[in-house]
Symmetry: C2
Subunit: 204 residues, 2 copies
Amino acid sequence: MKLYDFTQAPNPRRVRIFLAEKDIKVPVVQVDIAKQEHRTDAFANINPLQRLPVLELDDGTCIAESVAICRYFEEVQPEPPLFGNDPVDKALVEMWQRRIEMNLLAVVAAGFRHTNPYFAKMEEQVQAWGEQNLRNVGTQFAWLNDVLADREFIAGDHYTIADITALCGTDFAKVIKMRPMEDDNLPHLKRWYQAVSSRPSAKA
Amino acid sequence: MKLYDFTQAPNPRRVRIFLAEKDIKVPVVQVDIAKQEHRTDAFANINPLQRLPVLELDDGTCIAESVAICRYFEEVQPEPPLFGNDPVDKALVEMWQRRIEMNLLAVVAAGFRHTNPYFAKMEEQVQAWGEQNLRNVGTQFAWLNDVLADREFIAGDHYTIADITALCGTDFAKVIKMRPMEDDNLPHLKRWYQAVSSRPSAKA
């Protein structure tokens, strides 16, 4: 088994944190996106969509998509549960993980990818779309702050994959020069960020 | 229990098809997006993000996000399994469901929402982003056709939630005047579409 990873990208980090929470060790292969190593024919055999991360099993099966890789490990090692405990809890964790992914991580990513010159050579940018997302980022972090007003973690009273996605999204905002975790106007977000970023897994 | 639904929208249909495949009946409440009924304060109490579908349980718990609602029903009634059978299969179904959602359904939706005058009053459109997505739709259906070249269903040899998302995405393309399911250059997609759209659940 091996995990195709790129240390600087937010999505592979989601899997690394998930594995650290489960105390699972997996050999890692670095694929340098900056050097376009994900655009090679060799990597296209691992993931035709040429994205990271990818988990390759010993029989050659390749699982792409961060959440799908996490799901695999949740199934083979259920403890500690990071996708929820019972049918309602599992559904609510999935709801929150998706909301955070689409309304926070994707907004930061679109703002970054569609405006930063670094990506101009890699994809067809739409500047106006990037700018709209950049304008929305503040609203989205204010929303997350409100979500956290009445609960310890994003999906309720226990740490889940939704917190992992939110932590990676919050740290990723540094690339667009935003530091919501230091904003005194977002006290609930700040309290939550201090708790989740001080867990040993956050260093993964 | 009740399901907040809008018959004409693609996401609620995903849940209706899923329920039909499981032979589960749930009372339905129509929320007319065209009349902006999802923008009322009453509906904001059900889903603060004001999106459909939402499942309200008897204790008042509200589960939003199509896939999260489907997950709930998979947990309370596992048969027939629509999220996969074992850890590897579950991970691959999740991978395919996400790929189809982001690379097909989201592309059609962005093309529609950011270019159609109908949405101009409801959200801040970015015409160039809509047009880029409209240009990509053909490529994405060609990709789906290639995916289906060596398998009966999207995630392998059995029908799953990934097929439901793809069916809803393919039918939804009619709103942007595309009918990939009738395109003789996409024979695998056509064969798959005939199979999944002739299941009784497709009428849901």
